[in-house]
């Protein structure tokens, strides 16, 4: 085969590689569809919220959960008579859907469309952090209320360059990283090693873990990375083993974390494992890792055993609406995002700019997973991260941390 013959296959591989990261990546068009709404029969015009996320491509399951959570919140609000108070009292809420296929360029283009569409009041959604990091500057330039649900990187807020209109509903990466590192240190472990996925999520959480360890005068004895397509972690784990760590911090995805545990076991590297990324509290990880999941310590923004009226109501209504036995994180944060917009409208917001101001002043005592209000930089105050340890194949929550500032957490009692 000549060089000339190889050019076409190489081009093809580049194309299929792009497609591997999410279908429809080359398209920047947005398809808008109204997926829910109230009766709209009252005197007040319905309020339209843009719902964004990866509704197609490999991250479509996350998008479907975002849709389910947002739709549940809208249905509940509309069934209760729409916006509770304020000038828009009685207005129903409708969702207008924008698919970004987990493609940052498409997410940014979608927000550009929303900014130019005067019928859209605010945005709730987005799946992974890269899409929100790309979209946030567009929203902030247009002073468009943008509530990132599920995406958790603090870089979403820094990408918005100090504007007030961008919010992150979930606890941010520092809260995720710090809560588990604090638990590791509480256990008396002093020689952790880190293995992490490359990219915004993995590099971000791992970097914050290193920073937290350093703040507590502890140094990671090894810090290895891997890529999204890796399945063989033998070399990284062998290097980690050679550094004689007493614990392993894994920042990967559900399947890669399971593979890491399996391969660590094959190397005889059997040390306590910690997941600061909120990944291991998933059926996928528990199933993929099997018995090796036992003892893994991780965190989760939800506690299935939380026993407040709002928590029970959220669980019961989500189960009734979706037949799912638990509320997944993307659904939780989309649900909270819509709740936050509704609370700001009830607080007196009537336009995009006033909505931004009111979002900064709302305080919801309990959304179902905890209290919700926003710090000046748009990060969440009051977001909980529940620390669990896998026991008999199930995550057992032992304590909770609350985000008290853009980059600070404190341990709080469980709501049971």
């Amino acid at each position: 085969m000549s060089k000339r013959h190889l050019v076409t296959p190489l081009l093809a591989l580049l194309m299929v590689g792009a497609a591997a990261c999410g279908s429809g990546k080359s398209s920047t068009s947005s398809s808008a569809t109204t997926v829910a709404g109230g009766t709209g029969a009252g005197a007040v015009k319905p309020v339209t919220i843009a719902l964004g996320g990866p509704f197609s491509g490999s991250e479509a399951p996350t998008g479907n959960q975002i849709r389910a959570g947002a739709k549940l919140a809208v249905d509940q609000l509309n069934a209760a008579g729409g916006v509770k108070a304020g000038p828009l009292k009685g207005a129903t809420i409708a969702l207008k859907e924008f698919d970004d296929a987990d493609d940052p360029a498409r997410a940014a283009a979608n927000v550009r469309t929303m900014v130019d569409d005067s019928s859209v009041l605010a945005f709730v959604g987005s799946g992974l952090s890269d899409a929100s990091i790309a979209a946030a500057p567009v929203a902030s330039q247009g002073n468009f209320p943008y509530l990132a649900a599920y995406a958790s990187s603090e870089k979403i807020l820094s990408a918005a360059t100090g504007a007030k209109s961008v919010f992150v509903v979930a606890p941010t990466f520092p809260a995720y990283a710090f809560s588990v590192v604090d638990e590791l240190l509480k256990a008396g472990l002093k020689k952790p090693a880190i293995i992490h996925l490359s990219g915004t999520y993995g590099d971000g959480i791992a970097g914050l873990a290193v920073q937290r360890l350093k703040d507590k005068n502890v140094t990671a004895v090894a810090n290895e990375s891997f890529t999204f397509t890796d399945t063989q972690f033998g070399t990284q784990l062998a290097k980690i083993k050679a550094a004689s760590p007493d614990s392993l911090i894994m920042v990967g995805l559900a399947d890669s974390d399971a593979l890491i545990l399996k391969q660590a076991d094959g190397l005889g590297l059997r040390i306590p494992a910690f997941d600061p990324g909120g990944i291991t509290n998933s059926a996928t990880f528990l199933s993929d890792a099997g018995p090796l999941a036992e003892g893994v310590v991780g965190n989760s923004p939800t506690d299935a055993a939380r026993n407040t009226p709002a928590a029970k109501a959220l669980r019961d209504s989500y189960t009734a609406a979706t037949k799912e036995s638990f509320v997944p994180d993307p659904a939780v944060f989309a649900y909270e995002g819509v709740q936050a917009v509704a609370a700001a409208l009830a607080d007196g917001a009537t336009s995009r700019s006033t909505l931004v101001d009111h979002l900064h002043s709302i305080s919801i005592a309990d959304t179902g997973v905890g209290p919700l209000k926003f710090a000046a930089d748009g990060s969440r105050i009051g977001g909980r991260l529940y620390i669990f340890k896998v026991k008999d194949g199930k995550p057992v929550v032992s304590t909770a941390y609350e985000q008290t500032g853009p980059a600070e957490v404190k341990e709080v009692p469980l709501d049971r």
Binding site: S2, T8, A60, P61, Q232, K262, S287, D288
Partner: protein, 296 residues
């Protein structure tokens, strides 16, 4: 020392897997001149079907055979129903886009798999006999390790012998060398190429079963990884002979593993593709290959 030995074993096992991925890709590339971009996704889908067979039957051998058979069926059907008819209608303006049908099949298969496996991965049983072999220190070779070694050597060797010693193999070589002449002399070109896709798919199915047994998981992204790594192995080793895929796979595994262990795991993929580009520029026939230039 344990680190070095671990890297050696990791390098070898990765290389053998890449070689098996590349064997199927190389066979089709040699026979038809087309890069089958659906090779990896087809073997991924076949492996999910094998997982289902394993769950239903509780037996290992039928599951492996299902993987092999499904790989062959997907390969042959995709060729006969899609690739061949599209190629027959291809115009000169789209002559360089012969890979598009297989790209379409890859994306369709991947989207179907995402729907069938919303979690994106599933635990996979050890389909090959033998437990984890203790090699050195604390290191234990994962299940299917020895089977992988045997398959990666014997399958390319068997294919090479088959190409030389069987009537189908000779027809395949004739079609590969000059399809127009082969057709003019009455050789069943379509059937011969369908056989090449089926055999490549079967090898892919076996690779999928070995890969998933080795790692204990099957996942949707396996398809993309198998296509990418297999293609790189073929190009590094040299298109047109089966030892190329084996040697290219081993070279790729070694570069990835040793660079990751002793330099940086962060830039492992960048180095791999830099090597690929260097090979394309300097020795386009592959590091271990002999080129057969075709005049077009």
């Amino acid at each position: 020392m344990e680190l070095f030995l671990t890297v050696c074993v990791t390098s070898l096992t990765l290389g053998l897997l890449y070689a098996l991925f590349g064997t199927g890709i190389g066979l089709v590339l040699r026979a038809s001149g087309d890069l089958n971009l659906a090779h990896g996704d087809s073997l991924m889908l076949a492996t999910y079907v094998a997982l289902g067979t394993s769950h239903v039957s509780g037996l290992r051998v039928p599951a492996v055979l299902t993987d092999v058979a499904m790989g062959a069926v997907i390969g042959a059907v995709a060729f006969l129903v899609i690739y061949r008819p599209v190629a027959a209608r291809r115009r000169s303006a789209t002559a360089g886009l012969g890979f598009l049908p297989s790209l379409g099949v890859a994306l369709i298969v991947r989207n179907v798999a995402v729907r069938l496996s919303p979690r994106g991965s599933a635990p996979f049983p050890a389909l090959f006999a033998g437990g984890r072999a203790h090699l050195f220190g604390d290191y234990r070779l994962p299940p299917a390790g020895w089977w992988l070694l045997a398959a990666a050597v014997l399958v390319p060797a068997g294919l090479a012998v088959g190409l030389r010693r069987t009537a189908t193999g000779r027809r395949l070589r004739a079609v590969a060398d000059d399809p127009l002449l082969a057709e003019a002399t009455g050789l069943p070109v379509t059937r011969t190429l369908a056989v090449s896709y089926a055999v490549a798919g079967a090898v892919g199915g076996l690779a999928g079963a070995l890969f998933s047994s080795f790692f204990g998981l099957v996942f949707v992204s396996l398809g993309w990884q198998a296509t990418l790594k297999g293609f790189v192995a073929v190009i590094l080793g040299g298109v047109g002979w089966f030892r190329g895929a084996l040697l290219g796979g081993l070279a790729l595994g070694a570069v990835e593993s040793f660079f990751s262990a002793y330099v940086s795991s962060t830039f492992k993929d960048a180095v791999t593709f830099a090597l690929l580009i260097a090979v394309l520029l300097l020795v386009p026939e592959g590091m271990f290959g002999r080129t057969r230039l075709r005049t077009v």
